[in-house]
Amino acid sequence: MKKYKPTYPAAVAVLTLGAIYSSQTMAENWADKVTIGGFASAVYQVSDQATQFNGESGVTEDGAFQGTRMGININARLDDNLTLFSQLLATQEDNDYRTDLDWAFISYKAGNEWQLRAGKIKFPAGLVNEYVSVGTLYPWIAPPALFYSADMAGPQVTREAYTGFSAVWERNLGDWTVSSDIYAGEVSLPPFKAEATSTLLSTYTVRKLTGLTLKADWNDTFQLQATTFSGTMDIPDRPPMDGEKHSSTLVGAKMDWNNIVGYAEWADVKMGSAKMGAGTSWYTTLGYRIDRWLPNITYQYFDKGLDTADLKQEQNMTTYGVKYALTRNASLKFEYSTIETVQGQGLFAGPVVDKSSDMYGVAIDVTF
């Protein structure tokens, strides 16, 4: 396993300050104020294609353990109003593991309804993005790739964390809970490879980012969510996108009612005048829980590079899956997917000969 690489100085600073503060204030009773938890997923997927699906270390006919990961959460209550939240995440990458500070922030409780947060914070964009790495909390082996992809060829709905500030307001209205999250900062994706030459390009950064997420939740049974965020792209290697405005709008709904489980999300991404990065993506999932079993079906779609015939990417994917709850904190999943590449290469790392592909997957998820 590689050494921990501090890629976000601000987040590391938050963690360090929190640790210093906590060591002074909690020497006597730290066990009462610090909680440690974690999660892990072992994933294996294989397709009928030689070209990788969903990233450079993606799934091929040789099989891949992409998505195998382990995370540790360390949360510390520093005083009545101040809490440090953090998550370390190790992910499988090119037969090795990369460990990152996935997110870490200080949260200040300002009254009963407000939280002010600073540090590296997971995007509240997408229904499951804030716990996207915790497999036991959703029905799929991985959240729908055509929506939640981290790959540059994908729909650009980030699953990363931003470094900045956030003000979260939450009000309890009996069976309903409504909340808003207004935030500002910047986000950087790791350096990515140019599809044609495999040349390593510069880090993809969005600066001066601002966003707003609104949520309404009825008894943790029905949830509605809407998000909009925008910022300025800083990608020196890609002049068409460099300096352009990046903006995304997402809406979604989720239900877990009488054993019926459903998800639906839609997103629209724009990159100023750079049409190659603009697009829409959506997915819908329906499942029915039978005792410990949760059979489910997901259809997902993305359309990118709108109105530019030579750059257009269009792909859809249908997944038939089943989740089996081994225990309250562990699940076993099986999936079969068909991928239709209508135009371009979609989430494949290069051109594919067959426009129709099959993929199989198995995963075990645990939390502890």
């Binding site: 804030e130 943790d220 005792d291 309250r328 939390t367």
Partner: protein, 145 residues
């Protein structure tokens, strides 16, 4: 979270077991430190507090939550009657809150005896115990049949 088995034989055994189990059917008392000036809580207010949907008593003071062990019968009973969730749903609820950095779950204090002793000595605390074991060391805010 898991759907109850429909097999009638198992259902029959379950019902017999439930009817003869004093622990599963006991009244639950939501208790607070005697120094707390909150007179009482409604079931909805208790639910909001124990899910951390709100973190203050109706009188405005901050609340400190104490929970029973996750595998205890009273934990499941309280989750069902007050929080309106199965233990699996409650576990999933806290996992989502914790793994998204939204909140930390209530402190697990232990069994009835431990929770009662902890509440008795901790200002602004709140917990729940079998109502049969309540004494003057704590203040009862809600009784749940």
């Amino acid at each position: 979270m898991f759907k109850r088995k429909t097999n009638t034989t198992i259902m029959g055994l379950f019902l017999i077991g439930a009817l003869t189990s004093g622990t599963a059917m006991a009244e639950i008392a939501v208790i607070a430190n005697p120094g707390n000036d909150t007179a009482s809580l409604t079931a909805a207010e208790a639910k909001a507090l124990f899910l951390k949907k709100t973190t203050i008593f109706p009188n405005g003071s901050e609340v400190i939550l104490g929970d029973q062990s996750e595998d205890s019968a009273i934990h499941a009973e309280f989750a069902k009657k007050v929080l309106k969730k199965t233990p699996d749903q409650l576990s999933s609820y806290w996992s989502k809150r914790v793994f998204s950095g939204k909140a930390m779950p209530p402190k697990v204090v232990g069994d009835d005896t431990s929770v009662k002793a902890w509440v008795a000595k901790t200002p602004n605390s709140i917990g729940y115990v079998d109502a049969g074991g309540v004494d003057d060391s704590v203040k009862v805010l809600l009784r749940v049949p």
